[in-house]
């Protein structure tokens, strides 16, 4: 039992209300990530499937009139083209573009009839110079809005009604709207938690492990060991962090190095995690670990140098204890709180850096991530559609904020001045 587990530190932590809330938030994120990783209730296919019209706002709000016309046009054209195929029955049966939605049980003629009706309404609305303007103006407004509603109704008539059991899933899919390709923003944002937590955990653990080992060695043995390790981290630290990350990610992603890395490390990880670990993330893990070990190393080196001179370590020397026992029993437990705090700090740093790398196209290669979502939402933002960028940053913000609060609380709890 160490002081980390001691009841006093615990009580102090539990009194820190915001930190407790933050821990709950983090626990929820980790639980979601683990459930996605282990049960696969959201699959990669779910996140890339078209679930509805493009750029649908969240919470069941209606898109602007022009977007609604575009969406109706897209659907009508798709189905019309299917009807024009050599074997229309089969083409219609294989319709997949709307994910969980299915086409109504109708024959080809009925489809053509209903599509024609859509075009009727569409043409009527298309005669207006500016639908958005017209929908707002007091004279034409009611008529235009009625036309748009009719258009939506007629589009809906092409599809089967949502089943009782499917409705919850459907609500989730459309909860935060859809992106430019009609994919569910909610599912993509939630699936990205998995990526973020994986990167945070793996790089955090790796970097803290490397940093602790290097810091203990440098601080305790001093001399040449210290010289080499100090030189190494000074060199790494003198390169701006993000530039180093970009270079490393560039080095490791794609090409032979990547392939061989994947073969070696991926094979190992596959046996451990049963293939659930995203192997394309290995370059990210490696480049992050190489960049991030510096922080914990520096702190733990300093603390070790301080502890080495403390009298309880000297007392252990007088007792004749060997170096390993000194390090493991008398030094390591006394830097464990720093390991925890640094892990917490690195988790945030990794999550944020992943977003930046993915935004630059160097991070996550397939599947959604908050960084990719932000980078893809560029054009939407110009059109005034903020649901995708808002969701991605919101999910990230909550996680990072929670970790920041937790880190502050940990620092308070373990501050020797108060302990």
């Amino acid at each position: 039992m160490t002081e980390i587990g001691s009841s006093r530190a615990w009580r102090k932590f539990l009194r820190h209300r915001p930190a407790v809330i933050a821990s709950v938030v983090i626990a929820v994120y980790v639980a979601v990530a683990l459930s996605v990783l282990l049960t696969g209730w959201i699959t990669l296919e779910d996140t890339s499937a078209r679930v509805g019209p493009a750029n649908l706002p969240g919470f069941g709000l209606l898109p602007d009139p022009e977007q609604r016309m575009d969406n109706a046009e897209w659907l009508a054209e798709r189905i019309e083209s299917l009807c024009d195929r050599a074997d229309p029955e089969e083409a219609l049966a294989g319709f997949r573009d709307l994910g969980s939605r299915r086409l109504a049980d109708l024959n080809v003629d009925e489809f053509r009839r209903r599509i024609d009706a859509i075009w009727d309404t569409w043409d009527r609305l298309a005669e207006l110079d500016d639908v958005n303007e017209a929908a707002r103006s007091p004279e034409t407004g009611p008529e235009v809005r009625e036309g748009l509603a009719e258009l939506d109704r007629r589009c809906e008539a092409l599809l089967q009604p949502v089943s009782e059991t499917g409705s919850v899933w459907r609500t989730l899919e459309l909860l935060l709207g859809t992106d430019r390709q009609g994919r569910s923003i909610f599912l993509r944002a939630v699936y990205s938690i998995r990526v973020a937590v994986m990167i945070g955990l793996v790089t955090g653990l790796l970097a803290v492990a490397i940093g602790t080992l290097a810091g203990l060695a440098a601080g305790y043995f001093g001399g040449i060991t210290d010289g080499i390790i100090t030189w190494l981290y000074s060199t790494f630290a003198s390169i701006p962090g993000i530039v180093l990350l970009i270079v490393l990610a560039f080095m490791f992603s794609g090409g032979e190095l990547d392939a061989s890395l994947n073969r070696v490390t991926g094979g190992l990880l596959r046996t451990v995690l049963g293939g659930r670990l995203d192997e394309t993330l290995i370059p990210v893990y490696i480049s992050f670990a190489i960049t991030f070990w510096i922080g914990p190393c520096r702190v733990i080196r300093g603390e070790t140098m301080k502890i080495r001179e403390l009298e309880y370590v000297q007392a252990a020397v007088v007792m004749g204890f060997g170096r390993m026992r000194l390090l493991l029993r008398h030094v390591l437990p006394n830097v464990s709180h720093l390991m925890l705090i640094n892990f917490s700090l690195l988790f945030i740093a990794a999550v944020k850096s992943e977003v930046i790398l993915s935004y630059l196209g160097l991070g996550v290669q397939n599947g959604p991530s908050w960084g990719l979502m932000i980078s893809q939402s560029g054009q939407e933002v110009m059109k005034g559609f903020f649901w995708q960028i808002g969701s991605a940053t919101g999910f990230m913000f909550v996680l990072v904020l929670a970790f920041n609060i937790l880190t502050d609380a940990l620092q308070d709890v373990f501050d020797p001045k108060h302990v």
Binding site: E3, Y312, V318, M319, G320, R329, H330, P333
Partner: protein, 339 residues
């Protein structure tokens, strides 16, 4: 034969500086210290901060490697022993540290700490371990349930008792206590001193007691050596030091010592000046810069430690001058001060 013999011990610490962190000088922490300590004797080492008394203790116990000189313990020269060769002697020599707050590992309970030591040195059989830990706690007058508690749950005095218990756990013959009571309040200090006196009696311990407090040393020790700037100024018995002290520095220490009774209040005797830096000590007598009676040869020639009475040595030219007659006539009278 003496249990401990220290022979011309030197310890220098390199001072590093500059861009390349090269050694640019050396601090002379301990310079040419020799003494013998007989079994069962308590030797006080007194001096002001920076005089090298702590370094001396740590060099003897092996926490620092001496620059020159030897330490012989029970006939074995320990300065040249390897880590492994030293192991059997580790059990017999122990150290009690000054700071009750930093001398206990905060992540280990009292019981874990003692148990680690006992197991490592295989003091008692595993079955008797708990019993032995409780016995140790009892020896230092703590309750047996203290072994489940962490250092932060103890007061300064209790922590110092645990330190003593740890040192006693290996059943040593010789203990170096480095300012064991100076971080404690007066009443607690008295408790710990009493405890140490009892233990000394009970286990026949030989103790080297390092302190800056003349009253404590006078009370607790049989003999003392007075250090200044890394060198021994005087070695004398603790009996009637007020009368027998002969080195001007020892006399100055005695006079600077706060009084016990306001009726003894006198104009404070003040030693002018500051202790010179141990990086460049004066070439002659180290005390020359503050000595009230210094002569010209004190500036240039270092006086050696010479006998001035029975079990009484001093390193001072002026004491030495009339020492010859003092030794031959067999009486040591106070000399050297201008008061």
């Amino acid at each position: 034969m003496a249990l401990l013999q220290v022979n011309r011990l030197y310890k220098q610490f390199p001072v590093r500086g500059g861009l390349l962190n090269r050694p640019i000088g050396a601090v002379q922490a301990v310079t040419d210290v020799s003494f013998e300590l007989d079994q069962g004797v308590t030797l006080g080492v007194i001096g002001e901060s920076g005089c090298g008394k702590s370094t001396l203790g740590k060099t003897i116990i092996g926490l620092h490697r001496p620059t020159r000189g030897t330490v012989t313990f029970d006939g074995v020269e320990i300065t040249s022993l390897s880590h492994r060769g030293m192991m059997p002697l580790r059990r017999r020599m122990q150290f009690i540290f000054q700071d009750p707050y930093s001398s206990l590992n905060p992540r280990m309970t009292a019981g874990q700490m003692l148990s680690e030591v006992i197991r490592f040195h295989d003091i008692v059989s595993p079955r008797q371990r708990t019993r032995y830990i409780e016995e140790l706690l009892e020896i230092v007058q703590m309750r047996p349930d203290a072994r489940h508690r962490y250092p932060h749950e103890f007061s300064g005095g209790q922590r110092q008792r645990l330190n003593i218990a740890r040192a006693l756990a290996v059943k040593p013959d010789f203990i170096i206590a480095d300012e064991p009571v100076s971080a404690l309040d007066v009443s607690v200090q008295a408790q710990i001193l009493n405890l140490l006196m009892d233990l000394r009696e009970r286990f026949g311990l030989t103790i080297m007691f390092i302190s800056h407090d003349l009253k404590v040393v006078e009370h607790f020790c049989d003999e003392m050596i007075v250090m200044y700037l890394g060198q021994v100024m005087e070695r004398l018995s603790c009996d009637r030091i007020q009368q027998t002290a002969r080195h001007p520095y020892t006399q100055a220490l005695l006079k600077s010592n706060p009084i016990n009774d306001p009726r003894d209040r006198t104009e404070l005797h003040v030693l002018e000046g500051e202790v010179p830096s141990p990086r460049n000590p004066p070439p002659g007598c180290p005390f020359v810069t503050r000595c009230p009676v210094a002569e010209s040869r004190c500036q240039t020639q270092r006086p050696g430690l010479v006998p001035v009475g029975r079990r009484h040595d001093a390193a001072c030219w002026l004491v030495d001058a009339d020492a010859a007659s003092a030794v031959s006539s067999g009486s040591g009278k106070t000399a050297g001060s201008s008061d």
